[in-house]
């Protein structure tokens, strides 16, 4: 079944509202199953006092890959026909913050519904090549499925892309961002915030400490990421996806997937 853009309900929210919604742990997306490797890390040499540092390290490694994939997916899913019939993938004003809300957009045009999945498939291959841990790829697809269920219902124009194949979370997020209207810079910040807050929520269960102090760590990690927001939010090509690796994070993900008596799935 093809959903045409004319019979879609047009749900319009500001980029900031959408980012708050998607970063909210109360959203029924199933994100609470992840500790972002913290549980295995704490059992394999990561000290409790290093958790703030761990959040910052993630910002310079895995978050760059995830945020980059979300931004590129947003770009690729935002396909509108242009005068010469070629896919128009211009980023509008070029300012990622001002580009965030375009009420004229009707999401993914139905005639494009093989073009977008094909392009996202290329992005997924690039993402998978930068995610050598099978455990990390699996949890990304599981979390992507939780988010895709919400996405298809709330923004039906995403269904043509999200229904047929399971996609990793950053690509689902980027597709929702394209259709719902989240700006590229907000999207980067959303991925970064979500990553740190996931670690924060997990550390309070695994090594209980002062929750207000941990909240400070989240903001510090996000602030450390801020210098990269502009660079990441301008990515468009799948091959340009950052590839910053973190061998221990990848190891811990593998260990976590078979950890006995674990609290978290990832």
């Amino acid at each position: 079944m093809t959903v045409t853009s004319t019979d879609l309900p047009t749900r319009r929210n500001a980029s900031a509202t959408l980012a708050m919604l998607l970063a909210d742990s109360r959203l029924p997306a199933g994100a609470h199953v992840s500790s972002n490797g913290l549980e295995a890390g704490l059992r394999h040499g990561l000290a409790a006092h290093e958790v703030a540092d761990y959040m910052r390290t993630r910002m310079t490694t895995v978050v760059r890959v995830e945020a980059g994939a979300a931004v590129i997916a947003r770009h690729l899913a935002d396909v509108r026909p242009s005068a010469d019939g070629a896919a128009d993938t211009e980023q509008g004003s070029g300012d990622p913050d001002r580009d965030s809300f375009r009420p004229e957009r009707n999401g993914i045009a139905p005639e494009r519904d093989t073009v977008v999945p094909d392009r996202l498939g290329v992005l997924e291959t690039e993402w998978a090549a930068r995610t050598p841990s099978a455990a990390l790829r699996e949890i990304a697809v599981a979390l992507g499925a939780g988010l895709a269920r919400i996405g298809q219902r709330i923004w039906p124009q995403t269904a043509a892309v999200l229904r047929p194949t399971p996609l990793p979370r950053p690509i689902v997020l980027g597709t929702i961002a394209a259709c719902a209207g989240i700006g590229a810079a907000d999207l980067v910040r959303l991925v970064a915030y979500d990553d740190a807050q996931t670690v924060a929520a997990a550390v309070l269960k695994l090594e209980p400490t002062d929750p207000i102090r941990v909240t400070g760590w989240v903001l510090d990690a996000c602030a450390a990421m801020e210098d990269s927001v502009s660079e990441l939010s301008r990515l468009t090509r799948p091959e340009a996806l950052p590839a910053s690796g973190a061998p221990l994070i990848e190891d811990w993900a593998e260990v976590q997937s078979v950890l006995p008596r674990r609290l978290f799935r990832a």
Binding site: Y54, T57, E126, I249, D251
Partner: protein
């Protein structure tokens, strides 16, 4: 630029081997049917600040090339300019490249950019070994950004990674306080099933496309290594074109 190019001369016979010396000197060790073994010898005190080592490798269709570094490499303290180490390999259809390297030591205040690019033809197999050591004995180690980009000739990627390490600034989740990262990369074949008690060599990361990355992270090269898996993978790869 150092060049090692191997191509079939007559069907089933020993391949034609073309060697061009650069900062590293290639030496032919042995040659037999569809197989060549080349050693790489340092031409001087590599690697100094500002040095740029380039190695080009071409393995013709159906050939197997084994490259072996003779002795490890030490990247010495940079005098303000980073040093570069670039490897560019093209592995033809049905060909095999096995590159056995010795530890690459990044001394205090060294600054190295290392880039390995591999383009793989249909049904080709590639095994690469990379042992990074931060610092000589008693040192914390310098900075290295090591980039690996392994794709099919049509651009479809297997493994793409940019690893940024700095001995002065260890990061939890990257190497933590460890100084040694031993890596074996194999693409073009599925890794064999392993019994859980087979080795204690760290994790095997099974890639999304046929291939795997074995890693060991630790404080010394004798304790953190992937020797067993490397031998297993390379033995299997080299048997393919026999």
């Amino acid at each position: 630029m150092t060049t090692i190019a191997v191509a079939e001369a007559a069907p089933g016979g020993p391949p034609k081997v073309r060697l061009t010396p650069g900062l590293l000197q290639p030496r032919l060790v042995t040659r037999k049917a569809r197989f060549a073994h080349v050693a790489l010898v340092a031409g001087g005190a590599t690697l100094l600040g500002g040095d740029s080592v380039s190695i080009r490798v071409e393995v013709g269709a159906g050939c197997t090339l084994r490259i072996e570094d003779i002795g490890g490499t030490v990247a010495y303290p940079s005098t303000g300019r980073p040093s570069d180490w670039n490897v560019d390999a093209v592995v033809g259809d049905g060909a095999v490249l096995v590159w056995e390297s010795f530890p690459f030591v990044v001394a205090d205040r060294a600054h190295v950019r290392r880039r390995t690019t591999v383009r793989r033809g249909a049904d080709a197999q590639v095994c690469l070994r990379e042992t990074l050591v931060l610092g000589r004995t008693g040192e914390a180690g310098g900075r290295i950004v090591s980039t690996t980009d392994i794709r099919d000739v049509d651009g479809t990627p297997f493994f793409v990674e940019e690893l940024s390490l700095d001995g002065e600034h260890p990061r939890p989740g990257v190497l933590g306080r460890s100084r040694v990262l031993d890596t074996a990369i194999m693409v073009g074949a599925e890794p064999e099933e392993e019994a859980p008690s087979d080795t204690d060599e760290g994790q095997v990361l099974v890639l999304a496309r046929p291939g795997a990355v074995a890693r060991a992270i630790g404080s010394a090269t004798h304790a953190a290594h992937v020797d067993v898996r490397w031998r297993r993978w390379t033995n299997r790869a080299e048997r393919r074109t026999e």
